[in-house]
Subunit: 209 residues, 3 copies
């Protein structure tokens, strides 16, 4: 299995996991089957879709239908599974951390392919990683979890920055990807276990605008 | 009147109806005139806009200004009308069902024009049909109605699938369109009258992610 | 300093101010640092991004990184500043009015560059001016302020219309821009001071759709 294949399978795994989180959000909101499918789909492909639109490149899932099949499979599987069993929350969070890590690096690399400047590359990586989850939470009528959760966007931002630096340093995409994916994953896993979070802003009574 | 003309006029009718539902949502939220115009516009063109962005084809209302005039007319008309009269809710729901049906088929056909795979075609049809209403509800600060409502996304999904199959079968666009539009419309009308709905997911206490 | 330079600096000022309003919304919601950065970024570039996607032209901040640096600077500055001081609300509202005015005219002019019809030009101007703030409010879990606030969308709509007319009249972009920016700015400042607002729709009990 080549490295590119490895990234591809990790990408599918990330898609699968994000689709499941979308479906579980739908469960909490008691949405019906197709509402849940919509939520699973936007969660899984939302970030990558906006990335591709901004890069003006064909949206990935219109070219590779397997992503939609993965979402359909994940949704139907989860739909049946949760009638009998409960997902181990910890496993889900770990897989979600892996998805966030992979999506961030894939997004950053795609922006690099277009020769964009470093701040744009970092933003593209972060957007690919987090926008799907933001859309999921907005559609489900909640303040996006990412805005509150321990070191989530932060892990993605640091991962994208480290990826760009490591790529400069090693000049080998494989190593840079492994370092960056590992960093995001470990940061998230550590944050989940330590319930670590960045301090929120002080002075919440400031009411500008 | 040719068939293509027929689809075009149905499309304008769908735009008109969706604009009215956006304006009425604005009424419920006591938005001012221009806030209401914004809501009417995104409801009417939101789905088609995202479809065209993903297909990387010129966004339809930038090329055919009549859509914007229809929205403006619908908004001003409704604005005046509701000061004196009340919309018959049933009529509105029937017209909305027709709009959903037409938008679904138009979205699916446009994706077929680009030679995309069947799952992508179905998703494009559904997105064209339902995204405008989702955006309307999110902007108005409500959990999108589609996620709760009897057989709404479901009708759109089935309509898009049936359109693709019927097109294969009949090899005549007109017939396929009539069958699919009829199916979505009748499903919705039946659902409205029977208050039918798909069962929601069980196990709402599952709290993954 | 040429006129084009002047517009460019006003655009950066608008970006700066909108980023600050996004960050202050994050403060009110007690978001963490990177959640706040996301909110500041979408507020500042959201409208222009959607405009560029619809026009199918490269998204401006992928080509000119300075916009992202301005947002980063504004966010970090505000983050530190509000720990010690309070923003004078009036100044913020005035600057926001200037940002709205500049963004509206820039959006309208960009649509004119693509030879689009007048209603499309007006809609593009308004979208550039107001969509960033709408996304900010939706992500922060609030009904968009624009939908309630005194003469906000209205000022943008009138500004875009006046810009198109003035351009026809004067045939000089500079004068048309000054007239339109001045109009939006003064309308907003007047509305802020007079707490003026358009009447909302009557008959809020109408519950169509």
């Amino acid at each position: 299995m080549s490295f590119i294949d490895g990234i591809f399978y990790l990408d599918l795994l990330g898609t699968l996991v994000f689709a499941i989180t979308g479906l579980l959000a739908a469960v909490r909101k008691q949405l019906d089957l197709f509402g849940a499918l919509v939520l699973a789909t936007v969660t899984a492909v939302g970030g990558g879709t906006i990335r591709d639109l901004i890069l003006d490149t064909p949206v990935f899932w219109t070219q590779q239908v397997i992503y939609l099949y993965v979402i359909l499979f994940a949704s139907v599987f989860t739909y049946i599974y949760i009638r009998f069993f409960t997902f181990p929350n910890k496993l889900l969070l770990w897989l979600d951390a892996l998805g966030l890590a992979v999506f961030t690096v894939i997004g950053a690399q795609k922006a690099l392919d277009f020769g964009l400047a470093v701040p744009v590359v970092v933003l593209m990586g972060v957007m690919t990683g987090v926008l799907g989850g933001i859309i999921r939470d907005v559609l489900a009528g909640e303040v996006p979890l990412i805005f509150r959760k321990e070191i989530y966007a932060t892990a993605s931002v640091l991962g994208a920055i480290v990826y760009v630096i490591a790529l400069e340093w090693f000049a080998v995409m494989e190593w840079a990807a492994i370092v960056a994916i590992g960093l995001v994953f470990l940061l998230r896993v550590w944050a989940i276990h330590a319930k670590a979070s960045l301090p929120t802003f002080g002075n919440p009574n400031q009411s500008g605008q």
